[in-house]
Symmetry: C2
Subunit: 203 residues, 2 copies
Amino acid sequence: MNKGRLFVISGPSGVGKGTIVKKILETEHPVELSVSATTRAPREGEEEGRDYFFVTNEEFEERIANKGFLEYAHVHEHYYGTPKVPVEKALSEGKDIILEIDVQGAMQVKESFDNGVYIFILPPSIDVLRDRIMGRGTETEHSLEVRLGKALEEIRYTGKYDYSVVNDDLEKATEDVIGIMRAEHFRILDAEEIIGKYEEETK
Amino acid sequence: MNKGRLFVISGPSGVGKGTIVKKILETEHPVELSVSATTRAPREGEEEGRDYFFVTNEEFEERIANKGFLEYAHVHEHYYGTPKVPVEKALSEGKDIILEIDVQGAMQVKESFDNGVYIFILPPSIDVLRDRIMGRGTETEHSLEVRLGKALEEIRYTGKYDYSVVNDDLEKATEDVIGIMRAEHFRILDAEEIIGKYEEETK
């Protein structure tokens, strides 16, 4: 059986990566979304194991010590992280996993996991990104500029990724990412295993 | 404009790589087949520039000296080779190029060309390959065994390739290769160029 692949999807805030991931999960492409662990309290409607794994501070720090995370961060006094075990289990069952994560997290995953596929979602332009963030109507002029500056900082990490997809048209960007996911299943990761199959036959 | 990509397609003789390439050329995927140069005489129905570029021995050897080939070989007293110039022209015009070539040729291309994509076409099994070659009805028992031995030798180069596609069903294998070609257009080859575009905008 083919092993699954880990797809790490990043991109600046406001670029629409969450929407792309949601659309991919709605298609028939067999893939699971990685569920994060967090120490913050569940919010109304959030479900254990679907939205997050809710754990105590002590449990989280123990798991850090045991190298149990692909990546983690401490934000606003709470921990957030990607537990290794469920990811490795799904991959060994042949399922693809999507990890939607910021650049810092993606760089951590790169150090702790081999053979991940790193996809960066780009806006058509900074102007379009500005319009999209403004459209949400939740930003002041100052916070908008801060976010755009941060977006550019993140875009500077593009070279650390394998693929870039411009989210101009949502449907197309979704298809593009799925196309990459499909193609990556043909990548040769273990040539010896392939060769061995044919050699075995001719013995 | 995006530059085109060079796709090198190899696989053992009899695996059906020529048929896959022919089918890809019949689809809407924008791609050209690389045309080889040769010193052998044109055969009935062969057309200059479509089937081969027919050149003299002297011209061929001069072009070797000028590093004008991505790869070349000397077979049955004739030269065969892939001229660099038409490939580079097509790529710079944004066209994809397919190079259908044996393993030895592919390894030469790897040394003289960056950013090629190497796809290896595999048979479902050696048994199936035997049946396919026998089906052609042109082999003696001995020459069949020689060819299968050579096929296994070639399969041992799988690890030098980026992708492997099993040609079990011709339609599916063709789609798989086209999928790889599409996905490779999202590969990040020049991150600085991408980043520069966004930085320019915010100046």
